[in-house]
Structures are given as C-alpha cells and as structure tokens.
C-alpha cells in the first residue's frame, strides 16, 4: 500500500513539469523546418534538469526546427561526431554537450553545435551555474543554436508574465518563456489585468483592482517593491511603456471618458495625449517610438488607429470588421497583431503593415491580448479551450502552436518580456 502511494506520488511529480509547460501542436504542412539532432548531454541524468530535452522543446516550439531521433549515443562537446551517420538520420545539425557537478556544488554545462551537412564545428558555449539556473542555461543553449542556424536572435531565455484566477485568488506570474519555473510576483483577492514588461525586463506595470477601482502600479519583480503611479479619479488602465522605459502611455477617465495620457514611469502629473469624445484606449508604442497605436470607437465601432507619439492627427489602421481591439506591434516594425470579432467570435489576426494584408491565424473563438516575442517570430495570446482559459503561442503563419494550461483555474493576460543580458 505504502509502495503504491509512493509510486502515485512519484508519478504526480513526474507529471508536474509537463502540466506547466507549453505543449506543441503542429497544424498545417509545407513549413520549412531545420532538422536538428540533440544528443543527451553526458551526465545530465545526475543533474536536476535534463538539458537536451529543454533545448529540443524550445526549438520545436519556435516552429522552425524539427527534432531528429538520436537513439542512445555517447557524445559530448569534445566528441568528433561521424557526420555521415547523422546525415543518414536526416539531421542538418547536431547538438552535443555535458553536465558536470563542480566541487562547490555548481554545475558546469558545456555544449557544441555541428553542421553535419558541411562537417563543420559551429562553435560552443560553457556555463558554470547553480542548480536553480540550469533551466536558464538550457534556454541559453537553445538561443545559441537558434541564432547560429537561423540568423535571428533566440528568445528562449526571455520571460513571460501572465495572470491566473483560481477561485477568488488572482496571481501575477513571471515564468520562463516555455511556461516553466513560474514564480508569483503578486497575489490578490481582486483582479489584476494588463501586465506590461518594462523594456529593461526588471519591472512590470499592471492594473490592480485592490482598492475597488482600477489603478496602475509599477512593480519591481526582483525586490517586490511596488509604486502606485496612477490613482486618479475614475479608472486608470492600459499601461504601455515607451522604448526608453521613461514614459507610460495610459488610459485615464479622470476628466470623463476613457482618454489617452502620457505619464512619467515614476508617476507625477499626466499629460493628455489626445482629446476625443469617444473611447480611446489600449495604447502601444511602435518599436521606433514614432507612433502610438490605440483603439478608438470614434467612428462608431472599435477600430485600431495610430497617431504620432507626441500627439496629433490619428489615422485609421484597421478597416475590415466592426470590432478590432488589443493592438500589439512586432519589434521589427513589420507586423500588427490584434483581435477582431468575425461572425460573433473573437480571433487573433496578423497584419503585414507594409501591405495591409491580414490573416486570421487561429481556430479558437475567444482570443485575447496578443503579445509578440522580442524576435518578432512568435505571438503569445490568451484564449478559451475546453471551457477554460489557456495561453497559446503561435508562429505568425499560425501553423505551429503551443498551449499552456493549468490543472485548475484560468490563465490569461500574457505579456512577453524583453531579451535580457
């Protein structure tokens, strides 16, 4: 009996990471993916984290890689692999490495990347870290592989913020980009919405209802220090950071109606950005800082507009449909993600800004709040699946999606953090 209990307990533990992690769901075909083999890191069985598995899951979730079965092999960063053998297995690239426990208790992680088509060593990395940073190291390995093979910056070592509601309890979480290692930054009995990472990746602005009205805090996540930056009469919401981290664009109703203001990130007196008799909300800065995109119903229905970030004339950006909200801009300035109501359901759309070409890229019906990865290749968003709120990541073509759900309760309001040193 005791033994069985222990077994169940162990099984439970084994399941935990899987339940918290994004699960990849591939849909559609014809995508060009780089076949990569990731050999088990020598010594990782004795380490708290299985480095190779984390690297593989990261690369697969990007949609740009396909994992090649390695079988049981004994390789590390010092081995000279038999490249013809790996080419026969269908791999274009091979990752090898090792994990060694050091005398001071830290772990020495080393890796090497091979181009097995050309038989070329593409370089390696080594890290000496405490056990708690082994997942971060695995993500950095994935970033290294990603950048070497695609030319784009990897985003696997970035973090995401999101909110959960379990019964009457709300939590603001900070987690690895794969959904693992979540830590609660704030617990509240009242709703928390609209978390927004500061460009330096150390602070999050958000809207809290803890004082029975929406007010805006800036929260230092390492120290837990919070600063109330907007608590004006009426509602205070929708914080968005300028690229230099000095200014927040916010929605205030202190003068009546939901209107856009600029505010020093340290607080102080807000400056009105625009004046309309309509709803203006959900401001977001373009990555070059020149424009603020926002939602307004000045034309009778909510549409996305943009105006110079110093204020001025607004021009309409979305023209199809009668409900377009929650704009998010990619860091490369090429893409606009937003939510559009089509035939009564809410779907994530992606617009190529240079052409205006727009695609709906999900088959769900209650999508919300998209946010781009810092390398502009993925979007994280909230949706409903099987009667519960879940988070998804998707490639911009919608073909590779991954889902993050929880055992109980709802998960919502994702925001993708910046690349950090």
């Amino acid at each position: 009996m005791l033994k069985r209990r222990l077994l169940i307990l162990l099984a439970g533990f084994a399941c935990l990471p899987a339940l918290a992690q994004f699960r990849v769901e591939v849909s559609g075909v014809g995508l060009t993916q780089i076949p990569v083999a990731i050999a088990a890191f020598r010594g990782e069985d004795g380490a708290p984290q299985k480095i190779a598995g984390i690297v593989q899951a990261d690369l697969e979730r990007s949609g740009q890689f396909r994992a090649v079965e390695t079988g049981v092999v004994a390789l590390d960063e010092g081995s000279r692999p038999d490249v013809s053998n790996w080419r026969q297995k269908g791999a274009d690239a091979l990752v090898t490495g090792s994990v060694t426990r050091l005398a001071d208790g830290r772990y020495d992680v080393r890796m090497r990347l091979w181009d097995v088509v050309r038989g070329q060593d593409l370089g390696g990395q080594s890290y000496a870290v405490v056990a708690g940073d082994l997942r971060l190291v695995a993500h950095r390995v994935a970033d290294f592989v990603y950048e070497k093979l695609t030319g784009d910056k990897g985003i696997f070592s970035t973090r995401i913020a999101y909110v959960t509601k379990v019964g009457p309890s709300y939590n603001l979480w900070v987690a690895d980009a794969d959904g693992e290692g979540a830590q609660s930054a704030l617990n509240s009995a009242e709703p928390i919405i609209s978390p927004s990472w500061a460009p330096n990746g150390t602070q999050i602005a958000y809207v809290s209802f803890e004082s029975r009205k929406p007010v805006i805090f800036v929260h230092d996540i390492a120290s837990g220090k919070r600063r109330l930056v907007a608590n004006f009469k009426g509602s205070n919401s929708a914080p968005a950071w300028s690229a230099d981290g000095k200014t927040l664009a916010v929605t205030l109703s202190r003068d009546g109606g939901s209107q856009l203001f600029l505010l020093d990130a340290t607080g102080g007196e807000p400056r009105r950005l625009a004046q309309s008799s309509a709803i203006d909300t959900e401001p977001t800065f373009s990555s070059d800082g020149r424009f603020i995109y926002f939602v307004s119903d000045r034309g009778g229905a909510p549409q996305i507009y943009r105006m110079p970030s110093t204020g001025g004339n607004a021009e309409r950006v979305t023209f199809t449909g009668t409900y377009n909200i929650s704009p998010s801009l990619s860091a490369d300035g090429k893409w606009l993600a937003y939510i559009s109501r089509v035939s009564g359901v809410f779907k994530l759309h992606v617009m190529e800004l240079s052409t205006g070409t727009t695609n709906a890229i999900t088959d769900t019906t209650a999508d919300e709040n998209p946010s781009f990865s810092p390398n502009s290749r993925l979007i994280i968003y909230a949706t409903h699946q099987a009667g519960r709120e879940a988070l998804m990541t998707t490639t911009l073509d919608g073909k590779i999606k991954a889902r993050l759900a929880r055992q109980s309760g709802d998960i919502r309001e994702p925001d993708w953090g910046p690349v950090q040193k």
Binding site: I193, F209, P214, G234, T251, G257, S258, N369, E413
Partner: protein
C-alpha cells in the same frame, strides 16, 4: 445576521421618514427602579422593557442604502438608462444630496464578451451615464466617482444570455 441589522436599519429609516419624527425625540420611558425579576436570572437593575437607543451615524445609513436597490441594468452595447431604473437613481441622488460629506462610487460592468481593456472602457461609459443622471438631479461631482470593473466582476457566472443580462450593469456603492 448582517441582513437582519440592515433590515432593522431600513425599518428605522423608513419609519423615521414616514412619521417625520427625529430619532432623538422618540419618547422612551425610563423604567429603572422597577423590580421585575429577569428571565435570565440576572438582577443588574436594568428593567426588561429598557431600550438601548441606536444613533444612525453616516456609516450605518450608507449600509442601509447598500441594502436598497442600487443596480442599473443596461441593454447590449447600450449606455442608455432605461426608464424603470430612474427611481433607483433618484433615490440615491436624494440620499447623497442630503449630506455633503457623503461619497458615492458608481461601478460600471460589462458582460464577458470581448477584450478586458475595451470592456473596462465600456463599463466606464455605463458608470458615467449613471453619474451624469445623478448630476442632473443635483448631486455634486465632488461627491461622485465613476469607475469601471469591465468584465472582471460578473454578478452572475456563466455564458448564458440570462447571465450576461445581469452582468451589463452599473452599481451604486457606498464605502
């Protein structure tokens, strides 16, 4: 228990209004000295018919108003106050006007469809519609604050049309 206290408070309020008698002037007979044995066996010198007077301070009367109708419901995509809710607004306007120190919050809400921030703005519009209606009845803006909870605090859970009707609302609230 709370409900009982509120009910009692309302009863007192209503009777006070009806008879136009200030609570302080209600004659209470002083019966100290009557030697009637107490049912619970205590003999502390307080008669069985003694009444402890309760002065309704501001907090108590706000609590009483919280127990009255204070929710205004809205049609889908609408911010117009339906005529049947005008009496509720008038009742609260009268109450707030009577005491310049009274503060009232009007909390707007929406149903669950659509984005959180846009719903926050829609809820704000509903709260401000009620605020304007109260201002028209002479309530000072300084005593009112219109805020929104968007779709974050549904009155009724569920995605049925009946539930969503109950969630498109503005609540008049005293704190």
């Amino acid at each position: 228990m709370n409900r009982l206290i509120w009910a009692a408070a309302i009863a007192v309020l209503v009777s006070a209004c009806g008879s136009a008698v200030k609570l302080d002037n209600v004659p209470v007979e002083d019966r100290t000295g009557a030697s009637v044995s107490q049912a619970d066996g205590k003999a502390d010198g307080v008669g069985q018919r003694a009444v402890t007077g309760v002065a309704l301070d501001n907090a108590n009367s706000s609590a009483a108003m919280m127990a009255t109708s204070r929710t205004v419901y809205f049609d889908l995509d609408s911010f117009a106050i339906r005529p049947e809710f005008q009496p509720i607004i008038e009742n609260h306007a009268k109450f707030v006007k009577a005491d310049k120190n009274k503060k009232v919050a009007i909390e707007g809400h929406t149903d669950e469809r659509g984005g959180r921030e846009y719903n926050l703005a829609l809820g704000q519009k509903r709260a401000e519609a009620v605020r304007r209606a109260m201002a028209l009845l002479g309530v000072s803006e300084a005593q009112m604050e219109a805020v929104s909870f968007g779709k974050e605090k549904p009155a009724v859970l569920g995605s049925t049309e009946a539930a969503m009707e109950k969630n498109r609302r503005a609540e008049i609230s005293y704190r």
